[in-house]
């Protein structure tokens, strides 16, 4: 039992400290995307927390989505999500990703991200500041760290 506990703790520690991120724009205005990129740059430096922006969905743990989902982007979003190996998490960045934002009701917009794939963390803002994005990532990690919460997530999921 205790050995299992140690292994679990170690696994959680590794996951919490090494979130590799892949970014997908599903029809965003660029504002959020640029702010996500800004989190990597000297002032915010997400690498401090082990965050690494990866190109290949196969390498990534966290999918960051921006923008309302357009008809054309929907299939791609699903494909990117499916390409990611387990365990995987999704962060929706920006008002549009959360609710469709100003683009609600536009004919080529299907809706928000969680109508297509399950979302773990929502980061509001138009666009959210880089600090807010970092905070969102850290919140996600905090979630993983707390085993009680993790259990509830697993039960629910």
């Amino acid at each position: 039992m205790t050995w299992q506990r140690v292994v679990d703790d170690f696994r959680t520690w590794a996951r919490v400290n090494s979130p590799w991120v892949v970014h997908f724009n599903t029809g965003s205005c660029n504002g959020c995307d640029i702010e996500i990129l800004a989190t990597l740059t000297p002032r915010y430096d997400a690498e401090r927390f082990g965050v690494k922006l990866e190109g290949s969905p196969r390498h990534a743990d966290v999918l960051i989505c921006t923008g309302p989902v357009t008809r054309q982007a929907r299939d791609r979003l699903l494909r990117v999500y499916e390409q990611m190996p387990e365990p995987k998490f999704v962060i929706a960045v920006g008002s549009c990703a959360i609710s469709g934002g100003v683009f609600q009701g536009c004919y080529n917009v299907i809706g928000h991200i969680d109508e297509v794939i399950p979302v773990d963390v929502y980061i509001p803002g138009c666009p959210p500041r880089p600090e807010a994005i970092l905070d969102g990532v850290v919140k996600l990690l905090g979630h993983l760290k707390n085993p009680v919460l993790e259990e509830t997530i697993q039960e629910a999921g």
């Binding site: 000297p42 430096d45 365990p87």
Partner: protein, 307 residues
């Protein structure tokens, strides 16, 4: 020598786990220095450990259209090659664990095994980025391998031996980089090429072909390849430091010299843009090979005259 002691040296110290730990620490130093140059804070000290551990516990997706055996086997082979190579070099300032005549050649080729495996791994999947990445990896292998080998053979000629042990004994205390500057520079730049870091990172150019040959790898396979790369970094640094910087006897001297080399590597890495693959090949065959060959000629003649 008894079996238990042998096993210990192979598995834990100074082979095996120790090499892996050392490799990851050096990887951290590399990333941290790079971040500092770029005005960033950079990763925490345990970052590479966390990365590898996370990758190891992550799901490994095996693409349906690739050869399963190769897909799983290649990363293991790559890491094994790098770890074996580590046994022949004076790691952490200790004498090489195993030594025989001609082990220099064996060590160099075991190091290349990693690159070949990476290339094959890329070619094993039908992903287009992987295929382009594999082509580039192998193209680059053919471009830097010969000059790097020649650069490594310079000290061997002086020592008149193909045995790493003897070369180091011969070079101990003399900074060969003063008498063989061309060899040193080519070896250093060859190391950049071997490790596929800027400006020779075209095989994994993120903006063109995502992650190159390893695009389809996730989880354990990727972890093993990365570990292999880290070990390669250590072995490469050790060899260059030992051959050209007056030996690495003793841990403090080893750390000092290899870190100095790493600092130079980071400096180059942060000051250059990525070369295109055709430019890389051109650079090596037009300049690298010719310069090293010229120096080699001088060395051989000089040795001949002395003899």
């Amino acid at each position: 020598m008894n079996t238990i002691q042998d096993l210990f040296t192979l598995m834990f110290f100074p082979g095996g786990l120790f090499v892996l730990a050392l490799g990851m620490s050096y990887e951290w130093v590399d990333r941290k220095l790079m971040a500092r140059v770029q005005n960033r804070v950079g990763p925490r000290w345990f970052q590479p450990y966390a990365d590898i551990a996370k990758l190891l516990v992550k799901e490994e997706v095996i693409p349906a259209d690739s050869n399963r055996l190769l897909f799983i086997g290649l990363p293991i082979l790559a890491l094994a090659g790098a770890l074996t190579a580590a046994l022949y070099v004076p790691l952490a300032g200790f004498d090489p664990l195993y030594s025989f005549k001609g082990d220099l050649i064996v060590a160099l080729y075991l190091l290349s095994l990693l690159t070949v495996c990476t290339g094959l791994a890329g070619a094993n999947t039908t992903d287009r980025f992987s295929l382009v990445g594999a082509t580039r990896t192998l193209t680059q292998l053919f471009s830097y391998e010969a000059p790097f080998l020649l650069a490594m053979l310079g000290p061997a000629v002086v020592a008149r031996s193909w045995q790493i042990n003897e070369i180091i004994a011969d070079a101990d205390g003399q900074w060969l980089l003063i008498v063989q500057p061309v060899g040193f520079v080519v070896a250093l730049i060859g190391l950049l090429g071997k490790l596929e870091i800027a400006p020779f990172n075209a095989p994994e150019a993120e903006t063109e072909i995502v992650a190159g040959a390893l695009t389809e790898y996730s989880g354990r396979g990727l972890a093993l390849f990365r570990l292999g790369r880290h070990v390669e970094l250590i072995v490469g640094l050790t060899m260059v430091a030992a051959f050209y910087m007056g030996g690495v006897s003793g841990l403090p001297l080893f750390v000092l010299k290899t870190l100095l080399l790493l600092l130079i590597l980071v400096g180059i890495q942060s000051l250059v843009a990525r070369l295109r693959i055709d430019q890389t090949v051109g650079l090596w065959w037009r300049w690298g090979v010719l310069l090293v060959l010229a120096q080699w000629l001088v060395l051989v003649i000089w040795e001949g005259v002395q003899a």
